[in-house]
């Protein structure tokens, strides 16, 4: 049967109706476009995935750990850490993890997060050798080479060959003429790290968990100052091999050049940021003001540095890098929090090789001021990172930041490979590390990565304190009483990590924090106060800083009973303030960041000391391994905190 429509003659009525309908459609489309753009912004993913169902343009808070080691890290395996990257991600998502010591292949201890993470990155050390990988992995080119067959089946002959070859200063034939095959062999663990990240990543609309492909570039200065950096990729498009400290000729600028070539400028959508950590142990070498050849930094160097190093890890197992404290040298006593007693990690083992810490060792307040000075001098700020916290766990225990219990670092310090240490579970100067807090529209790799690039992140020492910071000339001074604090913040200002330019008068800085609700088993603590820290450089290039309490009460009388570790006294559930800098100078470079501080609580070590009934006045109560409880440098009490990324002001 033929349809009648095709034969129907056009009529004026039909034409008019068609025109009207077309017009109506056009009007409807036009009117609906802005609404569509506002409610469901188009999402340009750099990878194939389903859009997240839970998407908020006003951004949501996601918690993660971007510094996690597994069995592939030399220093973890030497303490009998057996966690694989897959297990580390599973742990981050809430699974139980068995850790050393091991009995009959069964872990003696096990851990589980009370609150799973939203994202994580396994960052094993890139410095791996490939020869054994080639000969032990049947899938590797070279596995069936003469050398490898000898290596596996005729060790005496291989002993002769390998040693002769080494004595002549050559790499083995199995590595190829230029050693390339052995470098390629290091790709084995790298491939597993990628596969594990892929398995853990939720590409469905649920967006439950995000993993990042990442690794640690384990650098050091000539005097063994720490210059370690974590290299974090946007998506699964990553270089064929991690570029190690050795590959980059032991220089960070070379690393950046190589990352540009192998990732940023390569075909595809590879993208990467670099996160320095433990600048507190760098003896000033992490953020140097000179090029490797000794010449001053130039604008191009500063641009490159700022482009890659969008974040810095402020808090982790091996101490805090926010700011330096020593009585008589600086005033901010909160900076004593988790400050290590040496300026290089080698000082832990060989005291002669390090000094007590100094403000210029790499503490970020001073580094940020150096950045401002460079801005003045060469017109570009090389040191403009946002802040995150992470753990640096060498147990593969991503996000295990509780002070009670703390299971130890797992890479240096007191080993638990043979038995659980009888007293303090690790060296007293270590701590459970922190978390990375990221404000992103959704829990996808692209959204989180974009947030890390624009520095809309903050560090916490473990508690999940919620912290927001906005600054702008137009921010309403009464915004704390409004229901739409966040919407106004984005509309009228810039969020943490942002930049303000050329203002006639001091901006309004709106900051608010909410206490960590904690869990039923471990409720969070109330907040004590909310602070703004300002750093600036005067016309003579001299650095200054000032800490302002903008909400809460430093003298609220809250304390903690060091015998029972029970907190006492009042605090605040939420704090909010809109603050103006009383010393603002329109022509002066400056940065501002926020710090929310909890009421006092017991440090991890004191939880153990108290539970074991240590009374320093009675030596009989100090059992084996608990001597640290009564050491002069032991700090039984802490104030946990959240530290926002700065907002920079540039005239």
């Amino acid at each position: 049967m033929t349809t009648s429509c095709s034969r129907r003659p056009h009529s004026r009525l039909a034409l008019a109706t068609g025109f009207f309908l077309a017009l109506l459609l056009a009007v409807l489309l036009a009117s609906s476009l802005p609404v569509f753009a506002q409610d469901s912004p188009p999402r340009d993913y750099s990878e194939t995935r389903q859009p997240c169902a839970d998407h908020d343009p006003l951004r949501q808070l996601y918690w993660g750990d971007l510094h996690v080691h597994t069995r592939y890290s030399l220093d973890a395996s030497t303490q009998d850490t057996r966690t694989t990257p897959t297990q580390a991600y599973d742990f981050a998502r809430g699974a139980t993890l068995g850790i050393q010591p091991w009995r009959e292949g069964v872990p003696v201890r096990s851990m589980q997060l009370q609150r799973p993470l939203d994202f994580a990155a396994v960052t094993d050390h890139a410095e791996l050798l490939g020869e054994v990988e080639i000969c032990t992995n049947p899938a590797m080119a070279g596995h069936d080479s003469f050398y490898c067959r000898a290596y596996r089946w005729w060790p005496r002959l291989s002993f002769f060959m390998f040693n002769t070859s080494a004595a002549m200063g050559n790499r083995l034939g199995l590595c190829g003429d230029d050693g390339e095959l052995c470098r390629q062999a290091a790709a084995g663990p790298w491939a597993e790290m990628q596969a594990s990240a892929e398995q853990a990543y939720d590409r469905s609309a649920d967006c439950q968990f995000t993993s990042f492909v990442a690794y640690e570039w384990t650098g050091a200065s000539e005097n063994l100052g720490n210059t370690h950096r974590n290299v974090v990729f946007r998506n699964a498009e990553v270089p064929a091999l991690p570029i190690s400290f050795i590959d980059s000729n032991k220089l960070a600028p070379t690393l950046y050049q190589q990352l540009d070539e192998a990732c940023i400028e390569a075909d595809g959508r590879c993208d990467v940021i670099v996160i320095p950590h433990n600048s507190n142990l760098s003896d000033g070498y992490m953020f140097q003001l000179r090029r490797p050849d000794g010449s001053p930094l130039e604008r191009e160097d500063a641009d490159t540095r700022r482009r890659f190093e969008t974040l810095v890890e402020l808090l982790q197992h091996k101490g805090a890098s926010e700011c330096f404290y020593a009585a008589g040298v600086s005033e901010d006593e909160l900076c004593a929090f988790e400050q290590l007693p040496y300026d290089k990690f080698s000082g832990k083992f060989q005291s002669w090789s390090s000094e007590p810490p100094q403000p210029e060792d790499g503490f970020m307040r001073e580094v940020l001021r150096d950045g401002l000075r460079q801005q003045q001098a060469i017109g570009s700020n090389p040191f403009q990172p946002g802040f995150i916290g992470s753990t640096d766990t060498h147990l593969g225990a991503a996000g295990a930041v509780s002070e009670k219990p703390f299971y130890g670092h797992g890479g240096a310090g007191v080993p638990a490979d043979e038995e659980v240490p009888p007293g303090l579970v690790d060296d007293p100067e270590f701590n459970p590390g922190g978390l990375a807090a990221v404000w992103a529209s959704e829990n996808s790799r692209d959204a989180l990565f974009d947030a890390m690039r624009r520095r809309e992140t903050y560090a916490t020492s473990g508690p999940r304190i919620e912290l927001r910071l906005f600054a702008g000339a137009d921010i309403n001074p009464g915004v704390c009483g409004d229901l739409d604090f966040v919407a106004q913040g984005y509309r009228d200002g810039v969020p943490m990590g942002g930049e303000l330019q050329a203002l006639a008068s001091a901006p309004n800085i709106a900051v608010t924090a909410r206490r960590d609700p904690g869990t039923l088993a471990q409720p969070g603590l109330p907040l004590q106060r909310l602070q703004i820290i300002k750093g600036w450089v005067d016309a003579e290039g001299k650095g200054h800083e000032r800490v302002y309490d903008v909400a809460g009460d430093a003298d609220n009388g809250a304390s903690v009973d060091l015998q029972s570790c029970q907190p006492r006294g009042p605090g605040f559930d939420q704090l909010c303030s809109v603050w103006q800098d009383p010393e603002f100078k329109a022509g002066q470079l400056a940065y501002y960041y926020a710090r929310a501080v909890e009421n006092p609580s017991c440090r991890w070590s004191q939880h153990i000391c108290a539970a074991r009934g240590v009374d320093c006045a009675r030596p009989a109560t100090i059992d084996e391994g608990l001597e640290g409880c009564c050491a002069a440098e032991h700090r039984p009490q802490i104030q946990e905190r959240a530290v926002s990324s700065p907002i920079w002001y540039r005239p």
């Binding site: 992995n137 290596y151 060790p155 040693n163 609700p517 969070g524």
Partner: protein, 308 residues
Amino acid sequence: MFARLNRPWLHFLLIGTALFYLQRWLDPVPPPSVGPLADSQVESLRRQWFTTTGQMPAPDQLEAMVAAELDREMLFQEALVLELHRYDEVVRQRLVRNMHFLRLAEGRSEEELYREALRMELHLGDEVVKRRLIQIMEQILLARQAPVAVDEQAISEAFGQRRQELMRPPRYSIEQVFLSRERAAEAELLLQQIEAQDLSAEAARQFSSPFLPGYRFAAQSPAQLARNFGAAFVLNLEAAAPRPQTWVGPIESTYGSHLVWIDAMEAAREARLEEVSDQLRRDLELQYKREALREAVAELRQRYEVIL
């Protein structure tokens, strides 16, 4: 033909070969052996158990520990036979560090230190080296004896066995009016007023105190709600027996009181296979790998004489 075989050198060779095999038959080369553990090692195992559990191990527990320790010894011994300690970076660095610790490093290159450490056989007495070599041996064994591949049937069976564990949580879509602690006394009356006036959740929001995470939460699991409100809120909400399209409250949280409009609820449900198949596959792969390793170690044990 026979004349060609009638050569003295050939007789010498054949008789020599026959004698060689006769000698091996009469006096076979013994298999390599491990064990028994020294008394001090057994004591150390016993002490470790006590430190960990607070009790002395039962005889069968001690026996199992000794057997596991002997397996480790066997893997270590096998690794030494394969000279694995000569080609591993972890071992190398550990030995170099030991030389520094022994203050024998003065003026020597890393390569020299490494060679000297091997000459001094430091690798034989170092627990970290031992552990590392055992790890590599395990990798070699796994490479030789690949685990069984995971198939769809195994996934399906695991899905059936783990149904309960894989349950999906309930979901709540809610809106709220928040009252900070100092306004807690208003809560009851305000809820009555909202219900009496039949206010929508959006209209009722005007009475709220500021709440940083917002006022509307879609399809949230209890864990997601706990992130923003705290765990106590979730317990209190569940205890209030909420029903869709009704107000409940005041619900107490870490932060204050909440009047909650239940927009929609989805009950907890069983997972669908496609939602969890990746997780099941991963778990099975791990399980098969462990089993393959256990079998490979048992096979290796056949080549050794294990003396308990």
